[in-house]
C-alpha cells in the first residue's frame, strides 16, 4: 500500500562521519505495514531539489507507528536531512518496493551479507527473522574501518555476527566474502540476503551461483518518481519482465529486492 504523507522527525543522531540516523513518525492512525527491505521516498524541503530520495527502512516500530532510517550524506537532499531535528516534517511517499520475502527465509539458515551503507535495511530483516521459529540468522557485515555502525543491534538480532573491515582493524581484512571464506560458513547456509555496493552484489551473485545457494539482493539506481511510472530505475533481467515486456525491471516496484539469478548485473 502506498501513500503520500507528512512524517514528523522524532530522533536524529550522527552515527559516524557522514552517516546519520533519523526516526520518523507516521501521521496518526496510518498503520502501514512495512516489509524488511522496503523504502520510502523522502522529499527535501528545499524546493529546488524536487525528487524524492529513496532511503531504506532500517527499523520499523509497529507499536509506535515509526520508522528509523539510517543513511549517508550523498548530496543536497541527504545533507538537508542530516540537519533535521525533532518536530521537523517531511513529505514522504511510502511504502515503496517489494522488500525481502520472509516466508522464503522462515525456518532456514539465513546468511545476511551487508556492505557499508547497505547494512541498515538488513537490520529490520534480521529482527523480523528472529521472530520466526527455527530461523537462524548469521550476519556478515563489511565496513571500511573500525567505525562499525549498527553492529551492536545486529549482535542482539542474530545468532552470530562476523565482521570484515577493509583496513583490517577488526575481523577479517577485506570484504564480506573474504570473511565468509575465512570463517568457512558457506556450507551452513540455505539462503542469502544481501545489500551493499554493486561490485559486492556481483560477487555475491557469482558466489551464490557457485555454491548453489539462493541469494536475494537489494539493488539501487537513480530514481525520479519512485512509484513505477517514469521507468528511470531499471535493472536488466535475465528473462522478459512481465510488466515491461522487455528485459528491464523497475527497481522501485519489481524490486529493490531481486533473486540474484534473475538479474543481469
Amino acid at each position: 500500500m502506498k501513500a503520500r504523507m507528512t512524517m514528523t522527525v522524532s530522533e536524529t543522531e550522527e552515527l559516524q562521519s557522514g552517516i546519520y540516523s533519523m526516526t520518523l513518525a507516521f501521521p496518526k492512525n496510518t498503520h502501514l505495514t512495512v516489509n524488511p527491505g522496503q523504502f520510502v521516498g523522502i522529499y527535501p524541503n528545499d524546493q529546488t531539489a524536487l525528487l524524492p530520495r529513496p532511503i531504506s527502512v532500517c527499523r520499523w516500530d509497529e507499536k509506535e507507528d515509526m520508522i528509523r532510517l539510517v543513511y549517508r550524506i550523498a548530496g543536497k537532499g541527504t545533507r538537508e536531512f542530516s540537519g533535521a531535528g525533532w518536530g521537523d516534517t517531511f513529505n514522504v511517499t511510502g511504502m515503496l518496493g517489494n522488500g525481502y520475502d520472509l516466508s522464503e527465509m522462515a525456518g532456514k539458515r539465513v546468511m545476511i551479507l551487508g556492505g557499508g551503507i547497505g547494512i541498515p535495511p538488513l537490520l529490520e530483516l534480521a529482527c523480523r527473522l528472529k521472530e520466526k521459529p527455527g530461523t537462524r540468522v548469521t550476519a556478515v557485515l563489511g565496513y571500511r574501518d573500525s567505525n562499525m555502525f549498527l553492529r551492536e543491534e545486529f549482535e542482539n538480532a542474530s545468532y552470530r555476527v562476523y565482521i570484515a573491515t577493509e583496513d583490517g582493524s577488526a575481523g577479517t581484512k577485506g570484504n564480506v566474502l573474504d570473511a565468509v571464506r575465512e570463517q568457512g560458513i558457506a556450507g551452513n547456509t540455505d539462503i542469502i540476503a544481501a545489500c551493499g555496493p554493486m561490485p559486492m552484489l556481483r560477487a555475491i551473485k557469482c558466489f551464490a551461483g557457485e555454491h548453489g545457494i539462493k541469494a536475494f539482493i537489494s539493488l539501487e539506481e537513480h530514481m525520479a518518481c519512485g512509484v513505477g511510472a517514469c521507468l528511470g530505475c531499471v535493472v536488466k533481467t535475465k528473462n522478459v519482465d512481465e510488466h515491461s515486456h522487455v528485459h528491464n525491471a523497475r527497481i522501485c516496484t519489481e524490486g529493490p529486492v531481486f533473486d540474484a539469478a534473475d538479474v543481469d548485473i
Binding site: K2, R4, L50, A224, V227, L231, G232, V246
Partner: protein, 300 residues
Amino acid sequence: MEINIAGVKFRNPVMTASGTFGSGMEYAEFVDLTKLGAVVTKGVASVPWAGNPVPRVAETYGGMLNAIGLQNPGIDVFCSRDLPFLEGFDTKVIVNVCGHTEEEYLEVVDRLADEKSVSMLEINVSCPNVKQGAIQFGQDPKCLAEITGKIKDRAKQPVIMKLTPNVTDISEMARAAEAGGADAISLINTITGMKIDVERQKFALANKTGGLSGPAIKPVAVRMVYQCAGAVRIPIIGMGGIATAEDALEFMLAGATGVAVGMMSFHDPETAVNVAAGIEDYLVRHNISDVNEIIGAVQV
C-alpha cells in the same frame, strides 16, 4: 472550465504530460483521475522498446534530466492491458505515439484507429529518424510536415504534433505541423541538457545527454508557446515546468488552450489536480465566466 480541442471536449484544460504518469496505473492510487481534463499516456511504439542504459535520470536545480529512451511495452500490451485500465476512469485519454520510421508510427496509428476510448493522438517527433541520419523528425520542417501529413491520412482521431524545443525556430516547426494538417500542437518537449558528476568525473547519464524538464524550463516553454500562438491558428497545449495554477495561466495567457503537468507529478502527484482547482479560483477572482476568455489574452 471546459475546453474544446479539434472537437474533443475536456472538462478542464489540465492534462498529464506523456512519460510522467505511466499509463495511469501507478498514480491512480494517489490521484483522482476524474478531476483531470485528460491523461496523456507514455509514448507507445509498434513493438516493446527497452530504452537506454542506466543511469537514465538525474536531478538538476529546479528540474531533472531524463534519458529513459522511450521504454514502453509496445502497442499490443498497451491495447490489451493499459487502455482497458484507463477506460475504467471518467477522463479523456490521449495516446502518445513514437517510432523510428514512418512505418512504425503508422502501425500504431492504424492499431489505435478502432479504439473508441482514445480521444486524440499525440505524436512524439523527438524520436530520431533512423532513415535520416537520426535527426529527430521534429527538427526538420520538411520531415515534420511530411510525417504529420502521412499520419493525418490514416488517423481516425484528431492528431496533436508534440514539438521539440531543440530547434532554431519553433514557429517554423509549428507552421510545418499546421501545414501537414495537424489538428493541434503540444509543446515543449524536453530541452537537451547534460550533467557531470564532479566527484566521480563521469557523466551523470549513461547516454551523456538527456532531456531537461521541470520548473527550470518554464520561461523557455512560455516563450515558445507565445511564438507559436503568433504563427499558427490551430490550438496549442502548453507544458514545461508547470507546478502551480499561476504557471499554467502563464501558458494560457500566452496562447495555450490546454496545459500539461509533467515532472512536478513526481514531486507531488496532486499537482495536476491542484492546478485545475487553482485555475478555477483564478476565474472566480477575476470574474471570468469562461476559461476560454484567457487564451492568448496577454496584453501587449
